[in-house]
C-alpha cells in the first residue's frame, strides 16, 4: 500500500501548494489555486477533455471486449490449424512499439479520412487493446467447460439465452478484467492519440502534457490526480470483486 501511495505524495503536495521553490522540501505556502483553476476558471475545458477521454476509453474497451470475447472463445476452446501462428500475429502489436504502429498507420488514416477523428483515435487504441483483450479472454476460455452450455441447451435455453444467461455470467470476471485493462490502456495513451488525433482530439494526457510544458506545476498535479482516478477505481474494484471471486468462474 505504501509503495502504491508513495508517488502520490509529491502530487498531493503540488496540487495543494501556492508557492514551492527550490530548495524547500515542502511548499512555502499552501492554497487551492490549482483546484480553483480546475473547477472555476476552466471547468468547461476540463470537463470536455475528461468526457472526451472517457468516451474514447469506453468505446475502445467495449469494442476490445466485443472482439476479444468471441476470439478468445475460439482460441481457448477449439483446436484448429494455424493457432500458433495466430498467437504470434496477435502478439505483434504488443511487441512492436505503438509509436511505430501509429506512425505507419497515420498515412493510411489520412487517406481514409480517419486522421484527426474520434473513430481514428479509437481505432489506433484498438491496435494494442484488442490483442490484450483477446489474450485475457483466451486464458479465461482455456479453463471454461463448454458442457455448461450443452447443459443449458438441453434444459431449454436457446442459443442467445445460452450466451446471455450462461456464457457471459460464467466468464464475467474475465470480461471485466479485459474491459478495465483496455480502458486503462486507452485512457493513458499520449503519443498515439497525439499522432492520430493531430491535436483535434484532446484527451486528458494531451492536456496534461500541455500543462506540464507550460510550467504550471500545481494545476498539472491537480489534473494528474483527476487522471489517476480510474486507475484507483480499477485497483479497488479488482481487489474487492475479483480478489474474492477469482478470475475463472468455472471449477
Amino acid at each position: 500500500m505504501v509503495m502504491v501511495a508513495l508517488p502520490f505524495v509529491p502530487l498531493l503536495l503540488w496540487a495543494f501548494s501556492d508557492r514551492w521553490f527550490f530548495p524547500a522540501l515542502a511548499p512555502q505556502s499552501w492554497g487551492l489555486r490549482a483546484w480553483i483553476y480546475l473547477f472555476r476558471t476552466a471547468p468547461d475545458q476540463i470537463l470536455v477533455v475528461t468526457l472526451q477521454s472517457l468516451w474514447v476509453a469506453a468505446a475502445t474497451a467495449c469494442i476490445a471486449v466485443a472482439v476479444g470475447l468471441p476470439a478468445g472463445r475460439a482460441l481457448g476452446i477449439y483446436v484448429f490449424k494455424g493457432k500458433d501462428l495466430l498467437s504470434i500475429v496477435l502478439m505483434l502489436p504488443v511487441v512492436v512499439p505503438s509509436l511505430c504502429v501509429a506512425m505507419g498507420l497515420h498515412l493510411w488514416f489520412i487517406r481514409l479520412g480517419l486522421a484527426e477523428s474520434f473513430l481514428g483515435v479509437v481505432l489506433i487504441h484498438l491496435t494494442f487493446c484488442v490483442p490484450y483483450s483477446v489474450f485475457v479472454m483466451w486464458g479465461v476460455f482455456s479453463n471454461y467447460n463448454v458442457e455448461f452450455e450443452d447443459q443449458a441447451r438441453s434444459l431449454g435455453a436457446t442459443g442467445v439465452q445460452t450466451v446471455v444467461r450462461v456464457m457471459i455470467p460464467m466468464t464475467l470476471p474475465g470480461i471485466v478484467v479485459a474491459g478495465l485493462f483496455s480502458f486503462l490502456l486507452s485512457w493513458t495513451q499520449y503519443l498515439t492519440t497525439l499522432i492520430i488525433g493531430g491535436g483535434k482530439i484532446i484527451t486528458l494526457p494531451i492536456l496534461l502534457f500541455a500543462l506540464m510544458a507550460s510550467g504550471d506545476r500545481p494545476v498539472a498535479a491537480a489534473v494528474s490526480l483527476l487522471f489517476v482516478l480510474p486507475a484507483f477505481f480499477t485497483l479497488f474494484f479488482s481487489a474487492r470483486y475479483l480478489g474474492r471471486k477469482g478470475l475463472v468462474g468455472v471449477w
Binding site: R153, L155, A157
Partner: protein, 348 residues
C-alpha cells in the same frame, strides 16, 4: 408419453465411427441402461438424443415423430451429465428454476414446481444455498432436480453416479430408481458399472466396441449372455469348448449332460458362472483339479482351479482353501449356458 426409438443410428467424430447401426426401442415409462466400457460411445448416443450431437445416419423417433433436425432446446429430452454442471453464479433454487425460466413460465408456477421437485429429490431447505456449499451428492441431486422439473418426455442420465463414493452411489441409485418408478418418465441411463445397470434397469443394452451386443432384462444378460464377450463383461471367465453328442457336451475336461439341448455334432462353447460351480468334498462330482491361487473377497473367495489344461474360476463361500490343495467340483447342468453357435460354424 415418451416412446423412444433409435433406428440404425450412426455417430461419427470426424472420420472415426464411434457408434454403428445402433437400434434400440425404449417403451414409454421404461428405464433402459446402455451399458459398456468407457469410450464406446454411450455418452454420444445420449447427446444425439438430446440434440447436442448430429448423427451421421439413422433415425431418432419420439412417439413416432422424428427428432433429428430439431434444436436441442425444443426437444422434450433433458440430459443430466456426469458432472453436476450447476451454474456457479446461481443458488440451488435458481439452478433448478433454470429450465422453467428459459420457458418463461409464471413465477408462481415456477415456485410451486420447484418446491415439489425439491421434496422429491430430498433437497427441501437447501434452496438458498450456494453451489459450493453443497456436497457432491447434493450437487448431483440438484442436477437431477433441475432436469426433472421441466417434465421432459425422456430423461437422459449420463453416468450421474460415477463421481460419488460407494455409499452415496447406492443412495442415489435408489433415489433414481424410486423417482423413475413414481414419475414413470422414460429414462435412458448410461453407465459402465454392470452392478448399477442390473440393479436399476428394466432392460439393459450392452454396447461393446460401438456395437449393440445384447438387449434384455438384467437377468437375461447376466444368466443367458448372447456370446462369450457379453459373458466376459459380466464377469464370466469359465468357457468350455466341445462337441455336442448324445445329449451331452464332450469337452477336454469332461462330459457334461445338457438336458433339453438338440443338435448332434455341433461344436459348442458353453459357460458357467464362477459362483455356480460347487466345490464339495462328498457326493458326485464332475471335475477334479488343483487349487492354483486364491483371493479372499469378503463375502466369497475366488479360487483358480487347474483341471487338465483348463483353468476354472470358482467363487465359493469357503475361505479355507489353499493353493496346491486338490478339490472336486460339481457343475450343475442347469447352470451351464450354451452360446448359440454362429451360423457359419455350425458343423466343424
Amino acid at each position: 408419453m415418451g416412446e423412444l426409438i433409435l433406428d440404425r443410428l450412426i455417430l461419427r467424430f470426424g472420420r472415426r465411427t464411434v457408434v454403428e447401426d445402433f437400434s434400440l426401442k425404449v417403451a414409454d415409462g421404461e428405464l433402459v441402461s446402455i451399458l459398456g466400457p468407457s469410450g464406446v460411445g454411450k455418452t454420444s448416443i445420449l447427446k444425439a438424443v438430446a440434440g447436442l450431437l448430429q448423427p451421421a445416419g439413422g433415425k431418432i423417433l419420439l412417439d413416432g415423430r422424428p427428432l433429428i433436425g430439431t434444436a436441442p432446446e425444443k426437444r422434450p429430452a433433458v440430459m443430466v451429465f456426469q458432472k453436476p454442471l450447476l451454474f456457479p453464479f446461481l443458488n440451488v433454487e435458481q439452478n433448478i428454476a433454470f429450465g422453467l425460466r428459459m420457458r418463461r413460465l409464471a413465477d408462481s408456477k415456477i415456485r410451486r414446481d420447484i418446491a415439489s421437485i425439491m421434496e422429491l429429490t430430498r433437497l427441501t431447505g437447501l434452496g438458498r444455498r450456494r453451489i459450493h456449499e453443497l456436497s457432491g451428492g447434493q450437487q448431483q441431486r440438484v442436477s437431477l432436480a433441475r432436469a426433472l422439473v421441466v417434465k421432459p418426455a425422456v430423461l437422459l442420465l449420463d453416468e450421474p453416479l460415477s463421481n460419488l463414493d460407494a455409499d452415496l452411489r447406492q443412495q442415489m441409485r435408489d433415489l433414481i430408481h424410486k423417482i423413475q418408478a413414481r414419475t414413470r418418465i422414460t429414462t435412458l441411463f448410461v453407465t459402465h458399472d454392470q452392478a448399477e445397470a442390473l440393479a436399476i434397469s428394466h432392460r439393459v443394452a450392452l454396447l461393446l466396441e460401438g456395437r449393440l451386443r445384447q438387449v434384455g432384462s438384467p437377468r437375461e444378460l447376466f444368466h443367458r449372455p448372447a456370446d462369450p464377450e457379453v459373458a466376459r463383461f459380466f464377469g464370466g471367465t469359465n468357457f468350455l469348448e466341445g462337441r455336442f453328442e448324445k445329449g451331452a457336451l464332450h469337452t477336454q475336461v469332461g462330459v457334461f449332460p445338457l438336458p433339453g439341448f438338440n443338435g448332434n455334432g455341433h461344436r459348442l462353447t458353453a459357460t458357467i458362472r464362477p459362483e455356480d460351480i460347487v466345490i464339495r468334498e462328498r457326493g458326485p462330482y464332475d471335475l477334479e483339479g488343483r487349487v492354483v491361487r486364491t483371493r479372499f473377497e469378503g463375502m466369497a473367495t475366488r479360487v483358480w482351479v487347474q483341471s487338465g489344461n483348463t483353468l476354472l474360476v470358482v467363487l465359493t463361500p469357503d475361505s479355507r482353501l489353499t493353493p496346491g490343495q486338490r478339490v472336486r467340483m460339481h457343475l450343475p447342468p442347469e447352470k451351464i449356458h450354451v452360446f448359440p453357435p454362429p451360423p457359419d460354424e455350425r458343423r466343424a
